[in-house]
Symmetry: C2
Subunit: 190 residues, 2 copies
Amino acid sequence: MKELEERIRKDGKVKPGGVLKVDSFLNHQIDPQLLYAMATELKRLYAGVPINKILTVEASGIAIASMVGYVFSCPLVFAKKSKTINISDDVWSADVVSFTHGGTNRVMVSKEYLGAGDCVLIVDDFLATGAALVGLKAICEQAGATVAGAGIAIEKVFQGGGNRLRAEGMRVESLAKIRSMTDNGLEFEN
Amino acid sequence: MKELEERIRKDGKVKPGGVLKVDSFLNHQIDPQLLYAMATELKRLYAGVPINKILTVEASGIAIASMVGYVFSCPLVFAKKSKTINISDDVWSADVVSFTHGGTNRVMVSKEYLGAGDCVLIVDDFLATGAALVGLKAICEQAGATVAGAGIAIEKVFQGGGNRLRAEGMRVESLAKIRSMTDNGLEFEN
């Protein structure tokens, strides 16, 4: 998606350790008109797929997932993070290791809001090692829900998570795919 | 706002200790079409006010703030929560005591994204004791930004935070105002 790639080139900041900061338009300050354009592009990509639920994880996935839900005219559910080890019987849950922060979070979705009748699009702002996506997919599987695929804003292809999931048969659509990232700049993949 | 009141009556659950659970459409599972209707109503209420930035706090405020930003055609910024005591010089920050969870969170906004030129609408899903609103207002004051007012989905009037802020001269618009809440039901204020 050209508009997103141009915005990343213009306002993204490459930090040591393979971190891309897009705090000025996607992660801390957010441009909702850009979110709407991204949601519309995901709707085009998943045209004809009977998606009835959007799933993401707090916090930074919520903004884009809200707009995707709006454009798809269906509810979104965000998995909640918890450090708690005791998980009640009322939730589906999975462990997710954060690439950015290091720590492990248990992420949870109430059984009330995800079940066997659902056809789910998993949405997130970033895809790197794929840990969040694997966790959200596991939650869908526990619930007996169908995973239509994933809709990602920015995939860091060089970290391998997206292509590993594609190799396993999952549909993963990323609106900007970064092939390489150095202090000298970014290279996108088509 | 009638549509929101009716939804609260239909799907909200009153829990002990003055807690209203709206997890099925606002806090865990989210109805984005309802968010859009709420954002449109806030746009009507704040017509003519030169708002150029929406401010909220993670996590549950992000969904509604995204849609408000979209309808107002302006960026939103979400304050990040941190348990960290050491705060860098690059952020505006305030302490917020959570009514629901008890603990105190330091909430922070990068100085890059809030400054003297901004006219801010503070948006949140709930207003109870007003702690989050007071913290976000303090952050705006540190930044030298103008606070146009607040746009709240659900105000629990009986907890006093909204009326205390109004008495101090702040404009607070809440789309559903709950006057009283018992096991027998809810009463709204016009």
